[in-house]
Amino acid sequence: MERSHFFLCRRAIVGKVFCYQESGVSTLNTQPGNPELVARFPEIHPPFDNVAAVTEANRCLYCFDAPCTAACPTHIDVPRFIKRIAQSNLRGSALTILDANILGASCSRVCPVDVLCEGACVYHRYNKQPIEIGRLQRHAMDAFFQNGAALVQRAHEQRSGRVACIGAGPASLAFAAEMRQRGFAVTIFERKPLPGGLNTYGVAEYKLRSSDSLREIELIRSLGVEFRFGSEIGGEAAFAQLEKDYDFIFLGIGLGAMRSLQIPGEHLPGVIDALKFIEGYKTGGKLEVGRHAVVVGAGNTAIDAARAALRLGAEDVQILYRRDEPSMSAFLFEYEQAKEEGVKFHWWSQPVAILPSQGHEGIEAIECVRVRSGANGSLEKVHASGFRISCDMVIPAIGQSPLLEFLEACRGVRTDNGRIQVDRATGQTSHPKYFAGGDCVNGGREVVDAVADGKRTALTVAKMLEKAHA
């Protein structure tokens, strides 16, 4: 791949907001200040005010070897950053967070804290509410960004050794930040026009605004990480070139597109997969939605899409899931919140066809059947159980399919069940030049898991480079 094909990012400051632009092409529909978007997606966890934050911080027991820290994949020193909030040392608090997790701001908004830090809080065993760690973390990070976001650069001299990241999602960003902090040159290749991966394109706007994601990535860029947008890497030649140009390559490629339903009618206008739908309203300025929406699947992304459809003005939103409540992969709190907001759930229901509307473009209904759990756990259709739901929009959200072709191109990078196989402690793949982390390794977990993978891998790679260039 020719260097000239890579686009360098240029930062334009529009008001208070950073926009990334490809040279010559103004594709950025990121309108972080879009008042309609902001109005329709009020934040689900409003920030603390200062006194409330200090009061909450003072509740923290300051556990030793704290369970919240252990539960955090990035091992943020939670009691320490909370104590610093209590002591009005917000900068110290933010740097404690960033030292462990460079995406501490987005994690504070999107982490499923109920099953991570807050779930581990010892107060659960004392009949008390756990400390609101996520909101406190956000408090410190918001203050950090409001006060100029001055990060401390750990290494000042440039070390020998160059690494490339493929994909500009959380895993690559964390890997890149840690490598830069240790003085190594890092280039990130991203096929989209904006960095951040799902943080920028795929997380529900009421949890994390694209503008906040970009603000955070600006911090990583300021460490000296080079971004090349619009760089789709594929084919033998491109990889051969990368291997020649860089000492090591980090794969942070995520999971790729959503799986298709594989039923008649899924290509009709009015059918849009959940990630495209979310990306469309977050960064594409597409705020229109059907009046009656059906979401297929019951994972966290399905819930995000359903709740977004409501906010965008859908009159009703129904979720179809082919198994029962306990089997769904959405977190319990996500499910509860969706129910409260009026999302309806159909269990043991599977779509079989999407029906085009008569007379005009679009769809008019989704045809479904009931299913049940058959022998050895597989699903079987219930005889004569067909039913139809009128709708003008269908949003498939049945999981992301890994970028298998891509992985094949990586020659010798072993995969298993659609995931890149790595050594957990080091992030190393079966190919000595390739490392990997994030969703493409763990099958699709959280931002914080991707950050942990990226950072852990960087520690290994940095050590190897230090040895190689000693």
């Binding site: 027991l61 300051y62 556990c63 030793f64 369970p67 994949p73 209590a86 991570l116 065993r125 004392y126």
Partner: protein, 472 residues
């Protein structure tokens, strides 16, 4: 049939002054004027020591600053307000009016005038003519007035205190209380002087010299008076332990001992009971009222009466001074008494504060080794943290975590690995772990039979000189 509950009698007679209960307002802003004192009596206060009267002064603005702690407001309060800034005759007229309307309540006039006999005679006469039930001589105010030779400037010199007390006694027909300053090496020196001068009772303690803090942006200490500050008088919950110690010192000293009105950080009925257990006959409250208003007295009276019923005390004097003999010189404590910490596993929430406190602040005898001794049988805190940092954690996602099963059943709500264990052989019984433990009753200190007769330092060494005491 349950025992009939007898409502205890909480009225007191203090040095000849009767009061419906032992709760008095201290001489301070809450007793600045008659209107306030009458509302306080309506709320339930038994007595009020009027804001100190004398020649009116001019106050500054601002006047108060506080010490907040761990998110709680006003753990300690500091003031640089002087005595009453209202004309003497107004105060006297209002005292007379209050006494007329509230004959059963105690109204004490707090006095401070320049150090001459006539001035004291005159104000004593005026106060008693107004109907005050008693007089409190303010020898304690530590700021401002002391620069003019009054307040603590008197209270810090036993001879002056004795002299002025005797002048007052020449004239007074009502009981005379002397209010003691804590800003002195040994509070008993002035207590003895007051007693020699003929005082009928004492009040202790007045506020403690203090600077509560400095504004880190302007570098001006608080309270800020046009860019400058001055040391003030410290009070509130923070000073209670200091006050209790001084109360005990005075009450344990035969040459000092007089009816004592306890003052210093009293915020609720339990604080009041503690002062009475060390010999006080009434208690005086200020900061808690400045924080929450007069209404708190209702809870104080209610709590006191309930506690007395529960303990079977019919009147205040039934428990007055009960704890006094329990405070002794260190040399009389039993060296053969041994207690050790016991952790109640079922209550432990796994915060490990006891572990780190014992390692860093005590005697390294609490360990995290319940899962068996590994390489780090006595792992230091640093080793523990290093191990945790290496562990790989992931967001639990059931669909992806097929293999995980909640296999081993834990005996307690907290994982065994996080429940500390006390090495009783090494435990010195210092109490620290039980003090830092956030869970009530999780760590108890339990006596261990030593099979040794009680023996004090004095008995062991055969002399009564002070041993080399703990100095930190």
């Amino acid at each position: 049939m349950p025992d009939r509950i007898v409502t205890p009698d909480i009225s007191v007679n203090f040095a000849g002054i009767s009061s419906p209960n032992p709760f008095w307002l201290a001489s301070a802003p809450p007793t600045n004027c008659g209107e306030q004192v009458m509302r306080a009596f309506d709320a339930g206060w038994g007595g009020a020591v009027w804001k100190t009267i004398g020649d009116p002064i001019t106050n500054v603005s601002s006047r108060y600053s506080s010490l907040d702690w761990n998110g709680q407001r006003m753990m300690g309060l500091n003031n640089i307000e002087l005595i009453s800034d209202r004309p003497l005759e107004v105060n006297l007229r209002e005292i007379a009016e209050v006494k007329k309307r509230y004959p059963r309540h105690a109204v004490i006039a707090s006095l401070m005038v320049e150090s001459n006999r006539e001035a004291w005679h005159q104000i004593v006469q005026q106060s008693e003519d107004a109907g005050a039930d008693g007089l409190e001589l303010n020898f304690g105010c530590p700021h401002g007035m002391s620069e003019r030779g009054m307040g603590s400037a008197v209270g810090q010199v036993p001879d002056y205190a004795e002299m002025i007390t005797s002048w007052v006694k020449e004239k007074a027909r009502t009981p005379v209380l002397v209010k003691l300053t804590p800003n002195i090496t040994d509070i008993r020196a002035v207590a003895r002087a007051a007693k020699r001068g003929g005082a009928d009772g004492l009040s202790a303690i007045n506020t403690i010299n203090s600077i509560t803090g400095i504004d880190l942006d302007t570098f001006i200490p608080r309270p800020n008076v046009d860019g400058k500050s001055s040391h003030g008088g410290y009070c509130g919950p923070a000073v209670k332990p200091i006050a209790l110690n001084m109360v005990q010192q005075v009450q344990s000293d035969q040459e000092s001992r007089l009816p004592l009105s306890g003052i210093g950080g009293i915020s609720d009925w339990r604080d009041a009971v503690e002062f009475i257990l060390l010999g006080c006959g009434t208690v005086q409250v200020c900061t808690a009222v400045m924080h929450y208003g007069y209404r708190i007295v209702e809870d104080m009276a209610d709590g006191l009466a309930n506690w007395m019923s529960e303990k079977g005390f019919a009147k205040i004097s039934d428990f007055q001074s009960l704890s006094l003999a329990r405070v002794q010189d260190w040399k009389h404590l039993n060296l053969n008494y041994k207690i050790v910490a016991r952790i109640h596993e079922e209550k432990c929430i796994g915060c490990e504060l006891c572990y780190t406190a014992c390692w860093d602040g005590a005697h390294q005898c609490i360990h995290l080794d319940r899962l068996g001794a590994n390489n780090h049988h006595h792992a230091t805190p640093a080793m523990r943290e290093a191990l945790s940092k290496q562990a790989i954690a992931m967001t639990p996602i059931p669909k992806l975590d097929h293999a995980s099963s909640n296999s081993s059943k834990e005996p307690y709500p907290t994982p065994l690995a996080r429940i500390p264990r006390v090495d009783e052989a090494e435990c010195v019984g210092c109490n620290l772990c039980s003090l830092v433990c956030p869970v009530d009753g999780c760590i108890t200190m339990e006596q261990v039979e030593t099979h040794l007769a009680s023996q004090s330092w004095e008995q062991r060494t055969g002399n009564s000189a002070n041993p080399a005491r703990k100095c930190d």
